[in-house]
Amino acid sequence: MKDVDALIKDLDRADSADSLLNAVKALGEKRSVVAIPHLIQVLNFNNPGAAVAAVEGLIQIGVEAVPSLLEQLDRHNYTARSWAIRALAGIGDPRGLVTLLGAATADFAVSVRRASARGLGLMKWYWFPSNLREIAQAEALEALLFVLEQDEEWIVRYSAVTGLQGLLQSYAQATDRVEAAWQKILDHDPVPAVRARVAYARQNLPRLTPPEPEPMPFPIDWQEILTRLRERKSLERRTISDPNNYRDIAKAIVCQDL
C-alpha cells in the first residue's frame, strides 16, 4: 500500500487522463487532510473525470476541507469554483450554507444548481445553535421551494425534491408547505421523472428520521454565517420574516460558548 506522499507524487507525475484519474481516486480514498490542497488543485485542471473524483475525495475528507474550498470560491477560475461548490454541497458543513443558498437559486451552471439543491438537504443542521437553526432552515426551505417551482431544468427540480426530503428530516414544521408544493408538481410538472421523484419522496416521508448527529470537530464562527445570511435576506425577502428574529439569534449566539 502506498502512503499519501507517494500518492501525491503519483498525482504530480500523471501524464495521461487515465493515470491522472487513478491517482486522484487513490489519493481521495486515503481521506487525508494532507491531500486537500492537491485534490483542490485538480479542480483547476480542465478534466471533468478527474474533477469528479477529486470532489468525491474532498467530500470523503469532509469538514476539514471546507476552509480551503471556501478559499477556492474567491478565485476567478469559474469551473474550479463550480467544482468547489459541488464539494461543499456534498459535505453539508454550515459554513457552506450561504454559498449553497445562492448557488442553488442563481448559479449559471445547471450542475452547480443541481448539486447545491441536493446539498441543502444534506446540511448538518444539528450543529446549528437552536435559534439560528430555524432561521437557516427557513431560508433553505424558501430557496428549495423557489428552485422546485422556478428552475427551467428538470434535473434541478428533481434535485430540489431530494433536498426538500432531506430538509424535512430535521425540519418537520415545513411538512405542510412542502406537501403542497409536491402536490403541485404531481399535478403540473411536465417531466415524469420529477413527478416520480416526488412520489418516491412521499413514500419515504413517514420513514424519515433525523440523521445521527456527528460531533462538531471544531468551533464554527456562527456570527459570520449569521452576517452573511442577514445580508442575503436584506437583499431579498425583507418582508417575509421578522428582522427581530435576528436580534434574538445574535443574543443567543453571543451567550453560547463556542
Binding site: G49, S111, R114, I155, Y158, S159, V191, A193, A196, Y200
Partner: protein, 263 residues
C-alpha cells in the same frame, strides 16, 4: 444577448426573408429553439430548405441545415415531404439534419426514402466535405428508422452492426433493440459500448440508452466514466420509459437511488 435584443417571431420571419445571411441563419435556429408553431414561420423555413445564397467553401448549405433542424423541432407533420426531398440534397449535413428531424416528426411516410439511402448509399451526389467521409449519415438514418418503428428495415439495418465506424454500430444496436424482440441481445451491445475507451463514444452510447430506456443498463450507466449530467439524462430516460402509473416499483426506485447518488 440582453432581453431587449431578443427576437420576436415577427422579426425572425422578417430576418429569414431578408438579405443578411448571418441573421437568416440565426433566425432559422431561433425558430427551432423556441419551437415556434406559426404557419408563416413554417412557410419561411420550408422556403429556406431550397436556399442557394448561403454556401460554405466546400459547397455545403448552412441555412438549409438549420432550417431542416428547426422544422424537426417545430414538429409539424405537414412538412414531411419537404424534409424527404432534403434527403436528396448533396450536402451530407442537410441529409443528416433531415433524417434527425424526420425521426422527431415520426411519420411512417418517410420510411422508404430513408431505406433507399441505406440500400444504395451512393444514390445521391455526395461531396461529404468533412471526416469521417461517409457516403451517408448512416447513424441518423438508422436511428430514425428505429424511432419510427420501421420493422421492414430490419434486414437493411443488420449489416451495419459490423460497420467500421463504432458510432454506426451502436446506432444499429439501438434501432434493432427498438425493432426486434431480441432487446437484451442488442441492449448488451450498448452496455459494452459504455466501456469504450473513447469518451465521445461513451457519451453517444449514454444518449442511445437514454433514448431506448433499457432498464438493465441502469447500473452500468451509473458506473460509466462520463459526466454526471449525461448519466443523469440517460437514467432519466430509463426512468421515464419504465414508469408504472403509480410511478413506483422496484425498478424505478432502483433507478432513482442511482440518480440521487449522482446529483
Amino acid at each position: 444577448m440582453t432581453n431587449s435584443e431578443q427576437l420576436t417571431i415577427e422579426q425572425a420571419i422578417a430576418n429569414l426573408e431578408g438579405d443578411d445571411l448571418g441573421l437568416r441563419l440565426y433566425s432559422a435556429w431561433w425558430l427551432g429553439r423556441f419551437r415556434v408553431k406559426d404557419e408563416r414561420a413554417i412557410a419561411v423555413l420550408v422556403k429556406a430548405l431550397q436556399d442557394n445564397d448561403d454556401r460554405t467553401p466546400n459547397g455545403g448549405y448552412p441555412l438549409r441545415r438549420n432550417a431542416a433542424r428547426a422544422l424537426g423541432k417545430v414538429g409539424d407533420a405537414s412538412i414531411v415531404l419537404n424534409l424527404i426531398e432534403c434527403l436528396d440534397c448533396e450536402d451530407f449535413y442537410v441529409r443528416e439534419a433531415a433524417a434527425q428531424s424526420l425521426a422527431m416528426i415520426n411519420d411512417r411516410v418517410c420510411i422508404s426514402a430513408l431505406c433507399r439511402l441505406l440500400e444504395q448509399p451512393d444514390a445521391v451526389p455526395q461531396p461529404a466535405p468533412e471526416p469521417p467521409f461517409l457516403a451517408q449519415p448512416f447513424d441518423a438514418l438508422i436511428e430514425a428508422l428505429g424511432t419510427i418503428g420501421a420493422v421492414e428495415a430490419i434486414p437493411l439495418i443488420k449489416p451495419y452492426l459490423d460497420h467500421e465506424v463504432p458510432r454506426i454500430r451502436f446506432a444499429s444496436a439501438r434501432a434493432l433493440y427498438q425493432l426486434t424482440p431480441d432487446g437484451d441481445y442488442y441492449g448488451q451491445i450498448l452496455i459494452e459500448g459504455l466501456q469504450s475507451p473513447d469518451l465521445q463514444l461513451r457519451r453517444a452510447v449514454l444518449a442511445d440508452i437514454g433514448a431506448i430506456g433499457y432498464i438493465k443498463a441502469a447500473l452500468p450507466v451509473a458506473e460509466t466514466l462520463a459526466e454526471n449530467s449525461l448519466k443523469l439524462i440517460a437514467l432519466g430516460g430509463i426512468l421515464e420509459q419504465n414508469l408504472p402509473e403509480s410511478y413506483l416499483n422496484q425498478d424505478t426506485i432502483g433507478v432513482m437511488d442511482l440518480m440521487d447518488a449522482l446529483l
